[in-house]
Homo-oligomer: 577 residues x 2
Amino acid sequence: MKIVIIGGVAGGASAAARARRHDEKAEIILLQSGPDISYASCGMPYFIGGEIKNRHSMAVQTPASLYAKLRIDVRVNVRVTAIDTEKKEISGHNERTSDKFSESYDELILAVGAAPLKPPIPGIDLPSLFSLRNLEDMDNINHWIAKTQDEIAHHHRMHCYVADGEKMHVVVAGAGFIGLEMVEQLLHRNIQVSLVEMMPQILGPLDVEMANILEQDLIKRGVNVITGDGIKQFEKMDECGDVVVHLASGKKLPAAQMTILGLGVRPDTAIVREAGIACTKRGHIIVDEYLKTNTEHVWAVGDAVEVKNPIVGGQWAVPLAGPANRQGRMAADNIYGKNRKFKGTYAAAVVRSFDLIAAAVGMNEKMLRAQRLPYNVVHVHPGSHAGYYPGAKSINLKVLFNPEDGKIYGAQAVGEDGVEKRIDVISTAMQGGLTAEDLAELELCYAPPVGSAKDPVNIAGMAAQNIMDGFVKQIQWDQLEDAQNDPDTVILDVRNPGEVTAGELVNGALQIPLPELRDRLGEVPTDKKIVVSCASGQRAYYACRILQQTPGLEGKVFNLSGAFKTFKTTPTFLSRS
Amino acid sequence: MKIVIIGGVAGGASAAARARRHDEKAEIILLQSGPDISYASCGMPYFIGGEIKNRHSMAVQTPASLYAKLRIDVRVNVRVTAIDTEKKEISGHNERTSDKFSESYDELILAVGAAPLKPPIPGIDLPSLFSLRNLEDMDNINHWIAKTQDEIAHHHRMHCYVADGEKMHVVVAGAGFIGLEMVEQLLHRNIQVSLVEMMPQILGPLDVEMANILEQDLIKRGVNVITGDGIKQFEKMDECGDVVVHLASGKKLPAAQMTILGLGVRPDTAIVREAGIACTKRGHIIVDEYLKTNTEHVWAVGDAVEVKNPIVGGQWAVPLAGPANRQGRMAADNIYGKNRKFKGTYAAAVVRSFDLIAAAVGMNEKMLRAQRLPYNVVHVHPGSHAGYYPGAKSINLKVLFNPEDGKIYGAQAVGEDGVEKRIDVISTAMQGGLTAEDLAELELCYAPPVGSAKDPVNIAGMAAQNIMDGFVKQIQWDQLEDAQNDPDTVILDVRNPGEVTAGELVNGALQIPLPELRDRLGEVPTDKKIVVSCASGQRAYYACRILQQTPGLEGKVFNLSGAFKTFKTTPTFLSRS
């Protein structure tokens, strides 16, 4: 058996290692462009920021280590340029010597990955613009920062755009996972950062009211965050490499000494398509449930493939390291006849941004709207552990589910502690077919320093159960403005007066603190719809239940999902100030 | 509707709050012995140790707060002494005034909880012995420590057993969750601690090789840990309250100024049984899946009930706060006709012991053996997050599963970081009906600071899959001694020589480092069984796959589950030194 693997980072290296465990006699050839294999892609921002100090640790495996442990024939600095699926042969050249080579295969695994998107914006090839795909990119970025900061420190930029003593300015284009990680790490290096995102929010996998928690934090930390504005041009200003970014809106950013392009990725599949292996319009390799392409003896894994969306059906592409690794292992298993089926990808992902962690799994509200799927939403804000034990941090947790059967569509969480744990639990619940209601009964570990008797996941499940049972009705934050403008609706704020002064929900809300509500029911009009809010949602829920049982108010009471704590990071609220 | 609830801590308070949300008009009476309701039971050790400083925060709700928010009629300091299920009436007296009272009910919820076990050991009622059930106990313990330490500091113990300037000595009897939490908190208060446990290991919910990780850590911290020895007598030594603990083995402990009894709990159900409500032999209240007792209009929740074991069938009692809270809510729902079924308890639990976290869910090996259920085990030791990002800590993870269908029986984990997250995930997987093999494919969040592309849960799943597929065979730590003594077995250690000197697996093991194995296959006898080990299991697994494919060795190769990292905390290894 001769197995050739194109691409040796996550999926490719996993496939090679697993194939060897199946077969001591197989000839396993791993081909990789550039000098590094099996490197820590996801660690690169942290190396640039200095959190990871050991450059050697960034290359998790080397050709030598893979040979010693697994007798893998690793060939780096090679570029595969053609696949002949008839002859079962690939060919290409050495990137350094230009020497040509070709190699036959019995089985071919395509782990070609995804390349950073470089849209045809004028100036995108200027030398101070960098993408971050591999360790060479990482080293180049590091070198550029060091050089620039050295020039600034030693007064060598007299004729360029940064005045001596000023901070280096970097534009990060694209506010996805890598963009956000780069922002944090650049700040660690005493750099002034502008973050530009074409979409109206940062961090697209989250919905806007969740992503805004991070955005507000970045603004507080001095990052110049620009959303809803595209980049029209990178204009070269001087010989130092300074660039002025022109935005679609006509605005210009201050001259930047470096730009990081984090505009997303596209599958790196030119040679795959040329070989006649079926790809989607967007260029993703099409595989069956065994990860086989439409071509005999050709398998594909990782960021370049389109996979099943097991939540709502259909296909999607989810470029994440975890699925890539597991697909690599599975492709090797299936070459050796294991017939394992890949069930699809749930898109569980997490990013740290300074003290905040943001995590998500599954479908967000934007996706569900685009697919016109009916859904329901709960927003809750429980503590990361028991409130009486010091240090608990509020977790902003959003769960989306099918209003009919409670199927969990997705979840998002933002906070300082225990955030990805809750998304991991919900991701597992989704994979086990549990419903949003089942989350209410989920049994999780509890000790005061690490959890609560009612875990945040339980709280979200109980909120979902209350919605599905009709125990409480709710409106979402984007319906509040309409409610406020509706003469037949009253907004009732049940916070205490001291809390209300910390931030007003809407102008002219009826204010009755919850402990007084039963005694002041007469103040609540029975001929109107009532929308109730408090700080984090619990007291409003209690109030809803009281009002719901008040004669004349049955069926007219609505909880504002997530209450003020959710509302204060929505575009509606933020656009006020 | 008039609902009477006996017991107002976890399940009782939850039931009361939920009932009010169902019914504004209901009369809801909550009866509680002692002055406190809804207090933070699980936080009490942390208050004693000073981690929780705010005494008010320990009473999560007060009678006044429950009345203000929920119009619950809370009556504290009352002792219910009789239940008349015919008349639907309970009666009792005020613990302070001795005034008698009786109260009729439409629906009765028994949330009577469990009381600390006090076996009839001579001296168990001596004044320096304390249990820890409620805030009064907590205050008494605190007061006793303060008084004793004050006496020591001010030389007022001239005639008693602690010499001036010495540390106070406390015996903790019972090494369960509360016992371990007390040990840590007592050490925080500069106390010398002896921990006595009758079972041959601490922390019974874990198996011995897992619990020993904590035990070794306690010993290192100076705790006098005694396992496998019961307490025969508490002997009063002097007027200060000093007690000498006599052990079953004949040993005596140094005089102790205080003893904490953490010997487990028993259901506090005397009045329940007297009322003719069905209980088990051990005294747990029997409920149906709706949490109803055998008696009309009587429901029971929390530590006093026996619940379904959803993993292997049958019933068990699992005194944990999480299930108690959810049962309380469910009983209220069912009183209002919701017909929610309680699916049983998985026994997910966690304890922190200094820098270590230990968590477990489901059945352990001892339970599976007792039920004579066939099971398989994997031990793995992956890092809490990506190895290349600083600060990753090894997680010792054990998963037990059905060898036939992969059903997960339980899991245990010990480590410094990310421990309970993995048990929460596995607990959720169990509740969703996922198998041990499914854990290999589980999709979890990954970013370098919080996870790995192959999460520890995935690693455990892959190990289980390899076992179930017959890809690798294994033996457990308790079979190693037999293997060593078997002349037809060779123990092969594939660690590097430098690692072997750090701790020898067995005397006379064949030592071939993994990278040399393929070139030294001739040294491996083909007429014997081969047991392979390394440091944490990965290299041994690689070696097993190499050997398994070596002519003459097919079917004769066994991996030592968990390798040296598991073996070094087993009784077999520890008894050597």
